[in-house]
């Protein structure tokens, strides 16, 4: 069976690339180091393709439909130029055949993924890939979760999606190697009076839950509590949870954590899941 050879989660805020000089230099350096460490891990793992689990930020319309989970189904996807992230238009390669097989398997298993032939990408994908695969030479299977506007899927459903993705990977040809990349911030507020703040105690608690794989406690959080304590941006935790669902039991190991980078309106954090050697 194919294997997950790397699983990781990290921040994707647009100001990381859009305003690198505004941040405290030490915090910025730790961020570049965090991305560099994950890039080395990815390169050492030598995946054939990667899953990127993220959310867009209402770059795509949320009407007339909003789907909890959308799979990209095309050979490549476009990320329009995004001034806030100071990134040019990018074309990110995908693997339509693998995506189509995933869709078929998901539907057979009773998991009704939506799909899109024309999904627009934004900093949720491009900021991490700018650091992890700067040559954009790794085929990506894109999964967008409904995060930036509610109602949103339950955390537990995201975790279950992770389990489905693992089953899909394990049913594939034995030689295949797959990386799973989740992107998003922990506590942060977006477009409201509290923007620029974080809840460091909440972040550290969540990182501990990933480290100790207290998954039930993570999944028991309600949206209302999550938003009250950690802000409307913290719904991005879903992307981390889905990754965790692909590697049950693998402890989350913090690669970088800077508790507050005000210029970027969030924390800086990179996490890898420690997989069993094999």
């Amino acid at each position: 069976m194919a294997r997950i050879v790397a699983a990781m989660a990290m921040v994707h805020g647009p100001r990381i690339t859009g305003a690198p000089d505004r941040a405290d230099p030490a915090a910025a350096q730790r961020t570049w180091d965090g991305f560099a460490a994950l890039r080395r891990e990815l390169e050492a793992a030598s995946p054939d393709w990667a899953l990127v689990i993220t959310n867009e930020h209402l770059t795509n319309p949320f009407f007339p439909y909003a789907a909890p989970f959308t799979l990209g189904l095309a050979p490549r996807f476009r990320a329009p130029a995004e001034p806030a992230a100071a990134l040019p238009e990018m074309l990110v390669p995908s693997d339509e055949a693998i995506s189509a097989q995933l869709l078929d398997m998901a539907w057979a298993a009773g998991f009704d993924l939506a799909y899109s032939h024309d999904l627009l990408l934004d900093h949720g994908t491009t900021v991490p890939l700018h650091f992890l695969t700067p040559h954009l030479d790794l085929p990506i299977v894109h999964i967008h979760q409904l995060v930036s506007r509610g109602p949103r899927p339950r955390l537990r459903r995201c975790y279950e999606l992770g389990g489905l993705l693992r089953q899909f990977i394990e049913a594939r040809p034995a030689a295949e190697r797959v990386a799973v990349i989740g992107t998003g911030g922990l506590s942060h507020w977006v477009g409201n009076a509290k923007m620029g703040q974080v809840n460091a105690a909440w972040d550290q608690h969540v990182l501990r839950l990933f480290a100790e794989r207290r998954d039930d406690e993570l999944l028991a959080m309600t949206d209302a509590a999550l938003e009250a304590e950690a802000g409307n941006g913290a719904h991005e935790l879903r992307n981390w949870i889905t990754v965790a669902g692909t590697v049950p039991g693998a402890p989350g190991e913090v690669v970088n954590y800077v508790e507050h980078v005000p210029a970027w309106a969030q924390q800086s954090v990179h996490l890898r899941f420690r997989l069993e050697a094999g």
Binding site: A23, D24, L58, A84, R149, V190, G191, N192, G196, A263
Partner: protein, 91 residues
């Protein structure tokens, strides 16, 4: 109360051509949407404080603020928090 229609306008205003049409004739542009009088006024006047109070989505409000010239998020935060705008001199 649903903020859908309000958010739909803000989504459309992410696109430069639509923003230009809106800025040329706010009332005419907004007539195509099913807005409450308060929502229409807040949009027409680009009243960010009122839009926030009416429940506009934060991501869309931030994008709108950026489009109308508040390029540093702290300008929006200061406005919404009712404080003086901070200097954009880093942390």
């Amino acid at each position: 109360m649903s903020t859908f229609e309000l958010d739909k306008v803000l989504y459309h205003l992410r696109h430069p051509e639509q923003l230009a049409r809106f800025q040329h004739d706010p009332a005419g542009f907004l007539a195509a949407y099913d807005l409450t009088p308060e929502e229409a006024r807040a949009l027409a006047e680009a009243d960010l404080v009122a839009l926030d109070r009416l429940g506009a989505n934060g991501y869309l409000l931030l994008a709108f603020a950026h489009r109308i010239g508040l390029h540093d998020y702290r300008q929006l935060t200061a406005l919404l928090a009712g404080a003086a705008a901070p200097t954009p001199a880093g942390d």
